[in-house]
Amino acid sequence: MGKLIVSLSPHAHGNETVEKNMYGVVIALIPAILVSLIYFGIGSAVVLLSSVASCVFIEWAISRYILKVNPSISDGSAIVTGLLLGMNLPSNLPIWIVMVGALVAIGIGKMTFGGLGNNPFNPALVGRCFLLVSFPAQMTSWPTSGHWLKYMDAQTGATPLSIMKTAIKSGDASVLNQLPDATQLLLGSNPNLGLGTIGEVCALALLLGLCYLLWKKVITWHIPVSIIGTVIIFSGILHLANPVYADPLTEVFTGGLMLGAIFMATDYVTSPMTHKGQIIYGVAIGFLTIVIRNWGSYPEGMSFAILIMNAFTPLINTYVKPKRFGEKQK
């Protein structure tokens, strides 16, 4: 006869697992990955694969040889970090730079804090921003579409974001006429411009991913909706006040905004725990993004906005409490 098992209640468990949530994110990224393969071809595949492979390897090596713990690669968090890092890089980036990014992302961004669940900043963004300030030239040369078999020698061009920046700097609203219209931006089919990072090409594919995440209850609507809503409202006000600032739809569909709002800002570990907190966090990210885009020195503000708000997450968690049962309604 077997043993009797004793423990405190509950004895049942739902079917939630870390793996289910992590691989849910991977599945939600599939449309965006497919689109990037269509637009960038081989370059996208090389960057994404090398990023995922090096992230997984670095996590395994650090936990095995430095922390001397049993590596937990199978939870899928390193794969997600690798994919998101890759999605945030241009498709013509040399492999060795990708590997440096992965080392910083996993090594410094995650494992130094004790691994999964302990990192204050989104590891993929730590890697990305490190590369952005260390290799500014390589990180801001954006290939244009239609270079299927070209990797590092792909033709490059300006991105919509840099055009928007030029318009603000010159004070000439007509510069914005070079921008493709909203439908083109939604599909990512702007013919002559640089396409930006691998993941930010097609807003539609990212929105599909959002639907999947919401359907599978991997994330809730609070963060993405509050970010996108704030960006639309804030940039709309600016656009009405001065047409030098791009219109809200262009702001939402360009750059890594969708990628950031749906996949990066919603990272469990670095976002607030309560819905109220998540909305505060999302609104602040949206606001900061537009501030950095319009008045900062970089054309893209999403990554920095998320990192800044990551730093505020513990504060939000401390002061924003869920509504207690039976609390007097005010």
């Binding site: 043993k3 009797l4 098992i5 004793v6 423990s7 405190l8």
Partner: protein, 295 residues
Amino acid sequence: MNFIIIAVLVLGTIALVSSLVLYFVSKKFAVTEDPRIGQVIDLLPGANCGGCGFAGCSGMADALVKGADKGSIDGLRCPVGGDLVMNKVSDLLGMAMANTEPMVAVVRCNGTCEFRPRIAEYDGLHTCAAMHSTCAGETGCGYGCLGCGDCVAACQFDAIHINPSTGLPEVDEEKCTSCGACTKACPRHIMELRKKGPKGRRVYVQCVNKDKGAVARKNCAVACIGCGKCQKVCKFEAITIENNLSYIDYNKCRMCTKCVDECPTGAIVKVNFPVRKSTANIEKTESNIKEEEKA
């Protein structure tokens, strides 16, 4: 030239104002502390273990100095530093310090896997405190060691380790400072501070089970069954029996070891005694034998 003068003037003024602020603040908020407190802190080991009953060494130092002013530091003792440190402290404060006997933590449970069969498996939070409040443990004995190592976690001196073959904690006598942290951490009060004894020799009841004899015996082969034989054989009235459990008062025990020979279940043990073939106790654990060899 002008720039330099302006810079010097500005910085100089800032420096002056800041130093004045600092001066007045330090005067205003100055805390006068007895210099002896600092000296006592320097003498104390600085482990901040809380074994003395205060939160840390500074609290202890404060109490010692206050005690000295009142004329007595009795009852204040640093278990970690022992007589060595306490003598220095009492010299410093000009107090007499009675030598006390060194103590050591002992484990009052011998319910190894072999003696105490497992009847269930605990599958919850792996701490003794959680297990104690959830269930009686993995065996039928509701008093014995749970083996999750709360005492190990509480020990700041790396003196307690769980022996994987017995599932019970073992105290490293060399490292134990008798700070008493383990006695507070153990939810079942199995850890006890006892006199270290001459040459480390000790006799104690290695069981805390208060069940009736038959029940206790059924759940554990080496349980104290409260039969009272030890009490009868003891000539020094050192043994009391309460709630079916025998207890040896270490202040009265003269270590004649008669009770050890008398105990029908082997619940009373002696440690660090030289091995005598005639009275070799069959039910000694490996650890005891090892300790005897050491002695």
